[in-house]
Symmetry: C2
Subunit: 335 residues, 2 copies
């Protein structure tokens, strides 16, 4: 099945060059049709597009620093708006952008319906752990999540983790203050009861340190907590690795050791970068949405497109909808 | 002024030995009276106590794994309960324990009143940043914090930071989802309005990555978020530094470089350990409470006692009460 993917050519720090380059990094034989959305002359200046890619013109561009609400109101003709619009119109199955995350999310929430049975979308971010990656959601699509929304997140995270990250029967945990079910707040108490009813491997509460330890494959939390945790982790890694790099340059004398350590530190940094896994999906909306990172390189663009391809091909949304519907008919629905 | 400090001799991983040793690390001339609480024979087996220290017998011990509620009910004669009781009875100004944090908090909340004008206590934890330390509160004393409680936390954090950490006019930020005041949830929107009225340097919203960057001196958040952030950071540091240490052993050949790097990594770990700053205060209760870390060494015990001494000597609670009262009379009180 050919997957049609709208790619916002103008989003990200080195757009459109990095985006166009990225498309050339896609594996041979990937059954995709790419709609490259943006200013045709700027895209053309970046060289030929790969076979199967065509330009969809869009005159305006959302800047990285545009306020989402402003962008939503004033930039209806931006490459970002047009890209999301292609999914809304059914002309694309998926959309990828490395641009302004807030504006991207705003356009998706505004233009795309939520899936039947799903209350709110969630950003799901793969976080590096000692054992691989763990999918954390919601990382900030919603700032106040109700318990039933957390239940939806658990269901969506499980499906995405299984289908796209390839983890069978992923372990799902609810982020809270202690492993005992008596620990937490009103939201987690209620969410625990609801998630327990889902057909998935729910391990109950997990604590903050269980995330980097890789105790679970999916971590469910409200969007406020998820966003804070994600950004705190980014800042902490920057502080530690940045600090170590400085020390390295001044203290390690042996050139071979310096090289070895530099490559190790780079590896750690890469592990915390979106580039490695190709972006974060916005789950729960009609169509496949992959949010790339503004600082991404060509490789990350290709990985984001592949993640979109995989999610669409594995019918993540269809599975989510089916599982949500099964809940409703089994009378386990709660609001 | 002599400060009387109750020290739970039986709390922590190597109690009572580490505690007794720690007392010998106190600086000469520190004007304190130490009440060493625990089993007299076990304390005596650890050698002489320093001058100015005396034993207060307690027959029972709270284990690290005792559930706080159970401890509260069944271990009224534990060294932890007796230590907190000494503050309640006015026989001590401050209490220090390296034992079970949850149980310690439970005894404090149960036995000690909150300060006038303060709704709920908060654990304030100094977090390492690129520029020094930042005081984060609440780190988990309350799991659902109301906006007015966040306002109290801001006030208490400012006073502690000024008086004990020695930072003049500390910058106070509210943890949220973006710098714009439009970002956040209902709780932060309301809290922002309230904190703005306080006589302190409020910079508005900060994001997760602003904490390790050291953008502010005090970070205010609800106890759920604070606890998750704190534990996530501990786990992340463990993962990164643990991973680097393993690589170091296998890849760095030059013995001098290995030694240098090992000491650097140890430095980073120490920076994230309670030992360096002597524990986290539980603010907002009658009496000075310092929560040490179970894995603390003798040096950390001494630092915790010094933090208690400093907080009591600088009349942190008196200042908090005065500022809270000033708010009430100025009509800025809200519930």
């Amino acid at each position: 099945m050919t997957i049609r993917i709208a790619v916002d050519a103008m989003g990200g720090d080195n757009a459109p060059r990095v985006v166009v380059n990225g498309l050339h990094h896609l594996p041979e034989g990937l059954d995709v049709e790419i709609l490259v959305v943006g200013r045709p002359e700027e895209i053309a200046a970046c060289g030929d597009l790969p076979a199967g890619a065509e330009v969809v013109p869009a005159t305006d561009v959302v800047d990285m620093h545009d306020a989402p609400r402003e962008a939503l109101r004033k930039k209806r003709k931006s490459s970002l708006a047009v890209s999301v619009g292609l999914v809304r119109e059914g002309r694309a199955d998926a959309v990828v952008s490395l641009g302004n995350t807030g504006a991207f999310m705003a356009f998706c929430v505004s233009l795309l319906s939520t899936l039947p049975g799903i209350r709110r979308p969630a950003i799901a971010v793969p976080i590096p752990t000692a054992r691989g990656h763990c999918l954390l959601l919601d990382a900030g699509a919603t700032s106040d999540s109700r318990p039933a929304q957390l239940r939806d997140f658990a269901l969506m995270g499980k499906v995405y983790c299984e289908q796209v990250m390839g983890i069978e029967s992923p372990k799902v945990g609810l982020l809270s203050l202690g492993e005992e079910s008596s620990k937490g707040n009103e939201r987690t108490f209620q969410a625990t009861e609801m998630i327990r009813e889902l057909p998935l491997e729910f391990v109950g509460n997990v604590e903050g340190d269980d995330i980097p330890r890789g105790e679970v494959d999916v971590v469910v939390c409200d969007g406020f907590t998820g966003n804070v945790v994600l950004k705190f982790g980014e800042g902490l890694m920057e502080m530690v690795l940045g600090g170590l790099q400085g020390v390295l340059e001044s203290q390690v004398k042996n050139p071979g050791d310096r090289e070895a350590l530099e490559s190790i530190l780079k590896g750690f940094m890469a592990k915390t970068d979106y580039a490695e896994y190709g972006g974060a999906p916005l789950l729960g909306v009609q169509g496949t949405v992959i949010i790339g990172h503004g600082r991404s390189a060509a490789k990350a663009v290709a990985n984001a497109v592949r993640a979109a391809h995989r999610a669409a091909q594995h019918r993540v949304n269809e599975l989510i909808t089916r599982e949500a519907a099964a809940l409703e008919t089994s009378g386990k629905e709660a609001t």
